[in-house]
Symmetry: D2
Subunit: 149 residues, 4 copies
């Protein structure tokens, strides 16, 4: 079986990501996914077009499973992202947050649905053929959630 063609983002934690329980707070995990996505789009963007993030992207849906506690440390964590669906104006992403080294259990799994948005026209816009071609290279199965009903 071939390895999954995911994009690996390394994201730094902040001391303030911890809450009073002294672990990285669950909402900050969603914040870290945002930064992983920003890195991925910078890599996926068509150099000949305006960056996708500047054109506009809305988040329509987010689902996160927190699998084990993440402690603060100075070293970044790895977030692997891939595209699990591409259709019309919509991109669905899968994410796994894990240690950069070794093969340990992920800290979290997530899925989010993004809608390409034309900020100037204030309405969704369809993915264009170049975007589809570029993102299709990062396509894989939907993330395998553990607790989804």
């Amino acid at each position: 079986m071939e390895p999954m063609p995911s994009y690996r983002a390394l994201v730094a934690l902040r001391w303030s990501d911890m809450d009073v329980y002294r672990h990285i707070n669950n909402v900050q995990i969603v914040r870290l996914l945002e930064d992983a996505r920003v890195q991925a789009f910078a890599a996926w963007d068509d150099p000949a077009s305006a960056p996708v993030l500047e054109r506009g992207v809305l988040v329509a849906r987010t689902e996160v499973e927190y699998l084990r506690q993440l402690d603060f440390r100075l070293e970044p964590v790895a977030i692997d992202l891939w595209v699990s669906r591409l259709a019309g104006a919509t991109i669905e992403l899968g994410y796994e947050m894990r240690e950069p080294e070794g093969d340990s259990e992920p800290y979290a799994r997530a899925e989010s649905t993004l809608v390409m948005f034309d900020l100037a026209a204030n309405r969704p816009r369809r993915l264009n053929p170049v975007e589809i071609e570029r993102m299709a290279k990062w396509m894989d199965e939907p993330v395998r959630m553990r607790w989804r009903r």
Copy 2:
């Protein structure tokens, strides 16, 4: 049909909840859900016991649907919360974020699964009968997600 017995939290927005798109950022919506939950637990807590949040609560799962853009304003938004499942160490909550007045479309719907945690013993703890009795009053159907697969 009886009205849903949900707990209504009023939560204030912050100017910094806006991102560069000039709307309330999707991750900050999850932050606002956290504060709605803190308010609800303060109301649901058994006055004779240590507050649930001090004993420890972990978030095991979060799912959010963003239904329409929320703009910054000085007035708080309403978040209605209810209990959609109670079992062992687990509480599942439903949420709807909406205008405090009128009957407009919600801004967001969400569901989260919480695990009661004994911070001192570092392990999950079962809900006790008093907690179950108190929370059962806020029980209703699971939140009706629009885009769940």
Copy 3:
């Protein structure tokens, strides 16, 4: 002696404003000052003009003294703001964060220097006579810092 003509903003705390020391984090105190300022500008704005915050305001300088620990609670804290200097494109504000009731020691004192900014032209803009007239009503002595050298 006349009472100080300060503007009183009530700002809600968030559970996540606490850091691992279980007190409101010092950086979040600066965040709360921002929201007090947003409330004050909404009150000070000339209704006949574009809101100052939409035209653009930069922070050039901030100084904060943390006088005692602030614990999380569901009730808002009070932040009193006043104008301590008005000149050209510059507004200097004084702040005291305190309990809304009673006459206890403030939690924090702060001062910040703001520069009115024309976002479209990307340069500072002078305060106009209406703005000066409106803000002059909130003018008082500079905040009395305790530890300034």
Copy 4:
């Protein structure tokens, strides 16, 4: 003249550090200083003792001058820190935030006063001789603020 013996921290920006003006928000600059300090203390800590941050550190005072706008980018910024005063329970730090490469104007200068705190005893604690010896190596002149009165 010898180069300043400052500690250089590299800190990553987050997309959410931008506010609606599309620049890194002034409060987030204070947040970044916190993470630079966390890195510095990890380097300055006596390996034979409990980490200073776990024993407890309070921020008593912060002063920041924002010298030029910082735009979001994927590359970290540099924050140079040094000790400008050591006395009793108190450490005063100077900071300059700048580009990691080249010799451009800093983005911000800051100073903060920290008080060593014994969380268990809930009171300030004096710096011990080992801490003083280790931090004295990073001692330099107070930061040269531009706008301090």
